[in-house]
């Protein structure tokens, strides 16, 4: 199908972009890669009065390292950075090994060429890989508007299925992933076909042999994160995960029943935890 009519505006600077957001308010949509937004416009699931195309704003096409005494170093990724650009960033495996493990699962080569890192996080699909890694690593979202700038933690930003705390006049200017030098990481997911949305995705980070954080996508309206006591035997870890699966319940949609989601979590998560610990060792 073809989208309904909308205004198209391509600002040259961040200032122009936030001024346009203030002007159009709720009716505006930010267009960056368009790999989630344009399908929804074409299928007429979403309507927009105006699309504000930020893909050519040079100041948003930047990957950089931010030092922070309190929070530690973070990698800041601007709103125009595509998933393939981040994947090709030479320091990705060293600085953000979990993101390096997750990115090949995001869509396809062809959609990653245009799809942006921030766009995927803005879209806030509950089983999507990048929101899961941002939540698990404890990253942040940088929001800019004419009123100023605010920085939200990932779990404050993503509220529920396709729902975020972004105000109508705010631009997601960047996201920040904490650097995980030397941590063991693992990422696993099950999808109908490679590149499809995950049914269930799990990610694990082991800072050392005793502390593993486990993140799960596709079980609730947003990613959920839990600490696992890795000192326990693998049977005890499996049991903890199984009771967590029952607690989360999961949900039913076209692709899977809630029971199948729980089953996937029970089977995938112990593998990810084990792999992360092995990498940390």
């Amino acid at each position: 199908m073809k989208p309904r009519p909308f205004d198209y505006i391509r600002p040259d600077t961040i200032e122009e972009a936030v001024a346009l957001l203030a002007e159009y308010g709720d009716g505006a949509r930010i267009l960056a890669g368009g790999q989630s937004l344009v399908p929804m416009l074409n299928l007429r699931i979403v309507e927009a009065e105006a699309l504000i195309d930020v893909s050519r704003i040079a100041a948003l096409d930047v990957i950089g390292e931010v030092s922070d005494k309190e929070l530690g170093n973070r990698i800041e990724i601007g709103a125009a950075v595509t998933q393939n650009k981040l994947m090709a960033w030479p320091r990705l495996a060293e600085k953000l090994p979990l993101v390096a493990a997750a990115l090949p699962h995001v869509g396809h080569f062809q959609t990653r060429n245009k799809g942006t890192v921030c766009g995927s996080i803005a879209h806030a699909d509950p089983s999507s890989e990048l929101p899961l890694t941002l939540a698990l690593l404890g990253g942040e979202v940088v929001l800019k508007s004419q009123r100023g700038e605010r920085v939200l933690a990932a779990n404050e930003f993503q509220k529920d299925m396709l729902t975020t705390s972004r105000a109508a006049d705010e631009l997601i200017a960047a996201v920040r992933f904490p650097v995980t030098n030397g941590a063991g990481v693992a990422f696993r997911e099950v999808a109908r076909r490679h590149g499809d949305f995950a049914i269930v995705a799990v990610a694990a980070v082991a800072e050392n042999k005793n502390a593993v954080r486990l993140g799960v996508g596709g079980m609730a309206g947003k990613p959920v994160v839990r600490q696992i006591a890795a000192k326990e035997s693998s049977d005890a870890i499996a049991e903890t995960i199984a009771s967590w699966a029952d607690e989360l319940e999961g949900y039913e949609d076209l692709h899977a029943s809630a029971a199948m989601r729980r089953d996937l979590l029970r089977n995938l998560a112990p593998l990810a935890v084990e792999e992360a610990i092995r990498c940390a060792a």
Binding site: M1, K2, Y8, V38, N42, F109, K114
Partner: protein, 163 residues
């Protein structure tokens, strides 16, 4: 700043296969429709119109992209390459196209233009792609005739002859 009102028709110019061309488009005109109806380049096929099937894949500034998920105005001033650019002017197929013909990598040919453009981009970055990498790129396309084996064989042929 470029600003186009919803029902306004504006002239959009871009470089298509090395030639500077222009035609009219509304903001909502998809690049695939602009190429076919505005510029008359019907080699690019339109399948699902929501980015799943890959038939409409073209190169924008050298990068394989779904032209059904790109607005014509977004491609303004860009270099667009479509399947029409692959064969020589006398019709001689390029090595990738010839490999498709040799390996029965197409039957009805509807999905072929998109697949050829995806691999034109991918092989330029990774000329000696492994079979696993070829299959990974191919997940971005749907082919209902061949069962994909012929397509994988064709691309492998090209990677084998690459220096």
């Amino acid at each position: 700043m470029r600003r186009v009102k919803r029902n306004e028709r504006v002239r959009v110019s871009l470089t298509l296969n090395g030639r500077k061309l222009a035609a009219e488009a509304e903001p909502r005109t998809l690049l695939c429709d602009f190429l076919r109806h505005g510029l008359g380049a019907t080699g690019t096929h339109v399948g699902c119109e929501h980015g799943v099937c890959g038939a409409c894949t073209v190169l924008i500034d050298g990068v394989a992209t779904r032209s059904c998920l790109t607005l014509a105005v977004q491609a303004e001033g860009c270099e667009v390459r479509t399947v029409e650019s692959l064969a020589a002017p006398d019709g001689t197929l390029n090595p990738l196209q010839q490999a498709f013909a040799d390996n029965h990598a197409l039957q009805c040919g509807f999905c072929t233009p998109g697949i050829l453009m995806s691999f034109t981009d991918y092989l330029s970055r990774n000329p000696q792609a492994s079979e696993a990498e070829i299959r990974d790129v191919l997940t971005g396309h749907l082919c209902r005739c061949t069962g994909y084996a012929g397509i994988v064989a064709a691309v492998k042929d090209v990677t084998k002859s690459s220096p």
